[in-house]
């Protein structure tokens, strides 16, 4: 075996280098690049065709931003985007506050029975299939409407989104709390800082990157949701993904490409920011 041989004075070929590499497995590199290709090719095609000046979705003629102009002028898309933002902002704020409190309760307390249960409940929205959550939420609000005559309007969607945003916000905040050095908090307590004071001046500033990351994940999750929103949304509560969903089902137009690309850009931007924050945290 090559590994047993004394190292050669210089490595001549790629083949020889491979022979010496413990981790090398034939063909795995190719599959990995194929994976990337598979993940990105459809998205890239979508983005390219959104800049096609031609009304045909598949025949490329020349570069043009006319579809974006059309999207920007579309009253329905504007309204849908505003609805999406309203829901996402409220759901994000609510979910982030609740998740931060819950993360503190699951890391900064004495061990207690019921912690495991609390943990399971917080993560439950990730485990229930989306379609089940969707019909359950729909039934819940329908019941409220028929039995109690309560209809909260857009708040229905905000609450539904808050439920599945909480675990997404919770995970990075909890991770951050676990990584944080506790000696500073303990020092504050030793110096007679009240628990609230220590939290405000020590824990919260240190936790901020985690909270921002959590809020971003919650926001992306909310703004991208289709399944739950489609079923729960009442008339006049069309969000941007729901609008696009309807468009695609009616037939593909380049306008849909442009609207989809905008949604894509928002997610990519936020996730990149998230990674940037996470990278900086590690340093």
């Amino acid at each position: 075996m090559a590994e047993l041989a004394p190292p050669p004075p210089f490595i001549a070929s790629r083949r020889q280098r491979r022979m010496l590499d413990l981790t090398y497995q034939p063909g795995f590199r190719g599959v990995a690049y194929f994976c990337l290709f598979m993940l990105y090719a459809p998205i890239v095609v979508l983005v390219i065709y959104s800049f096609n000046a031609n009304p045909s979705v598949t025949i490329w003629t020349e570069f043009g931003t006319n579809w974006y102009v059309k999207v920007a002028a579309n009253q329905y898309i504007q309204n849908a985007a505003i609805t999406s933002l309203k829901i996402a902002v409220v759901a994000t704020i609510g979910a982030t506050i609740a998740a931060t409190a819950a993360a503190l309760a699951t890391t900064r307390t004495l061990p207690y029975r019921g912690l495991g249960t609390a943990y399971v409940i917080i993560n439950l929205p990730l485990m229930v299939p989306e379609i089940v959550t969707a019909v359950a939420t729909l039934s819940f609000f329908a019941m409220g409407r028929t039995l109690l005559g309560i209809d909260l309007g857009l708040a229905n969607l905000m609450l539904a989104h808050m439920v599945f945003c909480i675990p997404f916000a919770y995970l990075p905040i909890r991770a951050r709390l676990e990584d944080m050095d506790r000696t500073l908090e303990q020092a504050a307590a030793d110096l007679y800082a009240s628990p609230w004071h220590a939290f405000r001046r020590i824990t919260l500033p240190l936790l901020t990157p985690g909270i921002v990351a959590g809020a971003m994940l919650a926001f992306i999750t909310s703004i991208d949701d289709v399944t739950i929103t489609t079923l729960v949304a009442g008339p006049g509560q069309t969000t941007l993904p729901i609008y696009i969903f309807g468009q695609i089902r009616r037939g593909i137009t380049p306008e849909t490409n442009a609207a989809s690309t905008i949604m894509l850009a928002v997610s990519v931007l936020l996730v990149s920011l998230f990674f940037f924050l996470a990278q900086r945290r590690k340093k």
Binding site: M1, C35, L36, A101, A105, L110, A136, D190, F245, M263
Partner: protein
């Protein structure tokens, strides 16, 4: 905790016990207050609705949607039987809904297997890169996971339609005269699920492959194992938790998928998710839809329990 020790130093055993009790009580109060908002929102708007679904599944369907407040197990009977047209008390076994379940299992299963076959080498390759390149790979694999599933399914439509990129290319080079029909078939759904959930497979695989101690691999080579033997006898067994986690994380959302089959699947090839949504939309049989949702939920629970027993209780630790 440091605060207990500080209080304990000068105290007699009695005051010590009292202080301990006080601290414990204050801590209990604090965590209750902190946990309440999150648990309240999830229990009221996330878990309680599941019980409404359970309740609805035992009611009669309303004529115009919704439910009639009468007890009935019709929803569950409908799943397996057809009522005779002339004599409603006679039941005929009808496998059509079972077929939809079977189809969902097969399509999600195929997507899972291909995900594993493609995802494993990719995850292994990622895990064996130097730290810097590894982070870039992780970023590139995670990014699609956070982009809109709807948009990605739509992008897949653009590729595999009759006038799409693949058919366009094949016709252009003259390999085919007629476009190959791919969109609106179970194949398209499996492909869409593969595409949508590949990151779910790669990430847990990566997590367990990254932890492998490569001294074991070296030992294998020292004992004259070939690369294939090392892979089969050392690397794959060591990454078993990742393989199981990845398979379950792909299979569960695949089984209940709604958007991907709605866009890529044809009207004839329903999956469970679409069947359920249909009952709450066009077909308007809420109790039947509720029963389906519960059956799906039960199946998912079984898989989650397998998942929990494999990954162990390591995640449910304190602090």
């Amino acid at each position: 905790m440091a605060s207990i020790d500080a209080a304990a130093a000068p105290a007699t055993s009695e005051t010590l016990a009292r202080t301990r009790e006080q601290i414990r009580r204050r801590d209990a109060l604090k965590r209750t207050g902190l946990l309440t908002p999150a648990l309240l929102i999830i229990v009221v708007f996330g878990i309680f609705p599941l019980f409404i679904v359970l309740f609805y599944s035992f009611l009669e369907a309303g004529a115009y949607g919704g439910v009639e407040w009468k007890f009935s197990i019709d929803a569950y009977v409908t799943f397996l039987f057809n009522r005779d047209l002339f004599d409603p008390s006679i039941l005929h076994f009808s496998p059509s809904y079972l077929q939809i379940f079977a189809r969902s299992f097969i399509v999600a299963g195929i997507a899972t297997v291909i995900c594993l076959l493609v995802g494993f080498p990719a995850a292994y390759f990622m895990a064996t890169r130097p730290a810097k390149t590894r982070n870039l790979w992780l970023f590139l694999v995670t990014l699609p996971f956070w982009t809109n599933l709807l948009v990605r399914s739509f992008a897949m439509m653009l590729i595999i339609r009759d006038q799409g990129l693949i058919n366009g290319f094949l016709m252009w080079i003259g390999a085919i005269q007629q476009p190959i029909v791919m969109l609106y078939t179970p194949f398209a759904v499996a492909l869409g699920l593969l595409y949508a959930f590949l990151p779910f497979m790669v990430l847990p695989l990566y997590a367990s492959l990254e932890k492998i101690d490569f001294r074991l691999v070296e030992a294998g080579f020292d004992l004259y194992a070939t690369r294939g033997q090392v892979l089969r006898r050392i690397i794959i067994p060591l990454s078993r938790p990742g393989i199981i986690a990845g398979c379950i994380l792909v299979f569960i959302p695949g089984l209940g998928a709604y958007i991907t089959p709605a866009l890529l699947g044809g009207g004839r090839d329903l999956m469970i998710g679409n069947l359920i949504a249909q009952q709450f939309g066009g077909s308007r049989n809420w109790p039947f839809g509720s029963a389906m949702a519960l059956i799906l939920m039960a199946v998912v629970l079984v898989f989650l329990m397998i998942y929990a027993s494999v990954t162990g209780r390591q995640k449910v630790g304190h602090g």
